[in-house]
């Protein structure tokens, strides 16, 4: 089954070492840009309580939930400790023509 690439935002919309919220088809995602200008995407809500991760702080490979400090590696989705213990789903990302595309 082929999955469509969805145009999410301009590459410049995401600051370096930061995160942006992207809503699509009734779902919410988080798009990350690291210091090496690589882009990543995960589900947008913390698996602990439904809080938008895009409101949280990006530090290196880690996104921290803004409310309860649940931490995830946004490249792999792996939860890094309490209170979040369920991993985040990740999605393939590519940048083409200055646009960020997500395979969701």
């Amino acid at each position: 089954m082929s999955v469509a690439w969805v145009d999410a935002c301009a590459a410049d919309d995401v600051d370096e070492e930061d995160v942006l919220r992207f809503d699509h088809g009734g779902r919410t995602f988080a798009i990350y840009r690291n210091e090496d200008d690589e882009y990543f995407a995960t589900d947008g809500l913390c698996t602990h309580e439904k809080v938008h991760l895009a409101d949280g702080l990006v530090l290196g490979d880690i996104i921290e939930c803004p409310k309860h400090n649940g931490r995830f590696n946004y490249k792999t989705g792996v939860a890094k400790g309490a209170p979040a213990c369920v991993n985040l789903k990740t999605y393939p990302v590519k940048v083409e023509g200055g646009r960020v595309l997500l395979q969701i």
């Binding site: 070492e17 309580e49 809080v51 938008h52 895009a54 409101d55 949280g56 702080l57 921290e64 803004p66 409310k67 309860h68 400090n69 309490a82 209170p83 213990c85």
Partner: protein, 411 residues
């Protein structure tokens, strides 16, 4: 003879986190988590918010903390049990049903107890601490009902906001000259009070409660020098006292709660305490003894005390942190403003501001922010890291929105 058993009394945030931490830290003996409530361990923060407004479910199942971790880790969760006493000489606890259980190490994580109103009729006021309290309160919160909240602290204001959003007529009576007197900067407290007033909450500060009169179908709340307030329900949010009954009976040292050292050990080296029930010397604040009533502190102390009980020697040095949500306002504060000699404000948007409290040597003591969560959470988190490092930051850098706070971490 060793009982090869650790007992944790209290299955709130601290006790639950400690149970998990002990197993993850390598404890293979028996591990008993004595839960005074009939519900499985759950998270308390939603009790004043989503549980009241109906966004959450009316069952604690939605709030269950840690899923099935206890079963997976072999933690023996005993629910609906009360520990009656601690016998330190024999190293055993006695349960309410007379059963005795021996321990090698004991953790007391029994939280705090809501203060009752010390006035005539004070017993008519509801309180909010447990899931059952929240459900009992919720039954009174329908549109057009009148609720009087005594106390404009976090709990009182959170439930005022929740009640208001359900269409309840809310009056808040506060004895102090402003809301959130304890720990929240005046400028931020004023923004929160203004938001409540614009939502239609009648906040009366500097108002002393005299008595609560129960009538046939409602209450009259009498205040000094003013007209009584009519209410269908009254709720008290006047703080909580550390639950020290067991510790006191066991002869443990007390000081605004169960006194523990920086490793969270009590005056008995086999007994530890964590969370709302204990006071500890905070190394980041000159060893000043503090007692914190906050979800994150309970979680962090639970994790830390587990390491301590397994023999680690680290001092508990987490930066205190708490938050509140009221309407669309999100407030976070990292650190303690105690002993601050100056305050710097950074306006980061029309609807968002940060405040920084500094010691006289320039060290950052506290960072707080109010506004939409997306604006303030990242910045307060950076402030927390700066506090943890004992950073001294030029006030001009803190005040200017042109200086990225994150850039200060690199310094």
């Amino acid at each position: 003879m060793s009982a090869n058993t650790i007992i944790i009394i209290g299955a709130g945030e601290a006790g639950s986190a400690a149970a998990i931490g002990l197993r993850e830290g390598g404890w293979t003996g028996s591990l008993i988590l004595a839960n005074a409530e009939r519900h499985r361990p759950y998270e308390r923060p939603p009790l004043s918010k989503a549980v009241l407004t109906g966004e959450g479910e009316q069952s604690p199942s939605a709030l269950i903390a840690h899923g099935h971790r206890f079963e997976e880790l072999g933690v023996e969760l005993l629910s609906n049990v009360i520990v009656q006493s601690i016998d330190r000489n024999r190293r055993a606890v006695t349960m309410a049903d007379g059963k005795e259980i021996a321990y090698d190490r004991l953790l007391v994580a029994v939280g705090a107890i809501p203060r009752r109103l010390n006035v005539e009729g004070g017993e008519h006021a509801l309180v909010l601490r447990t899931f059952d309290d929240s459900i009992a309160l919720r039954a009174h919160l329908s549109a057009g009902k009148r609720l009087t909240v005594i106390g404009a602290g976090f709990i009182g204001l959170e439930l005022a906001a929740s009640a208001r959003s359900l269409g309840v007529d809310v009056t808040v009576l506060e004895a102090a000259p402003r809301v959130l007197m304890r720990g929240v900067p005046a400028a931020i407290a004023e923004l929160i009070a203004t938001r409540h007033r614009s939502a239609g909450v009648d906040i009366r500060v500097g108002t002393s409660l005299e008595r609560i009169e129960k009538r046939a179908s409602d209450f009259l709340v009498h205040v000094a020098g003013g007209e009584p307030v009519r209410a269908d329900a009254v709720v008290a949010g006047v703080g909580a006292a550390p639950n020290v009954g067991l510790a006191q009976q066991a002869g443990l040292e007390l000081d605004n709660g169960i006194a523990v050292n920086e490793r969270l050990a009590t005056s008995d080296p086999d007994i530890f305490a964590a969370g709302d029930c204990c006071s500890f010397p905070h190394v980041l604040y000159g060893g000043r003894r503090v007692r914190l009533e906050a979800w994150r502190n309970a979680q962090h102390q639970g994790e830390a005390v587990a390491r301590s009980m397994l023999g680690a020697g680290e001092a508990f040095a987490k930066v205190p942190w708490f938050w509140t949500d009221q309407y669309d306002l999100h407030f976070q504060m990292a650190g303690l403003a105690l002993g601050a000699s100056s305050v710097v404000t950074r306006q980061i948007a029309d609807d968002a501001m940060l405040m920084f409290h500094l010691a006289d040597d320039g060290r950052l003591l506290a960072a707080s922010g109010i506004g939409p969560i997306g604006r303030v959470a990242k910045e307060v988190r950076i402030g927390e890291m700066l506090i943890e490092r004992g950073a001294r930051i030029a006030p001009s850098s803190l005040a200017s929105p042109d200086v990225r706070l994150k850039s200060l971490l690199a310094a």
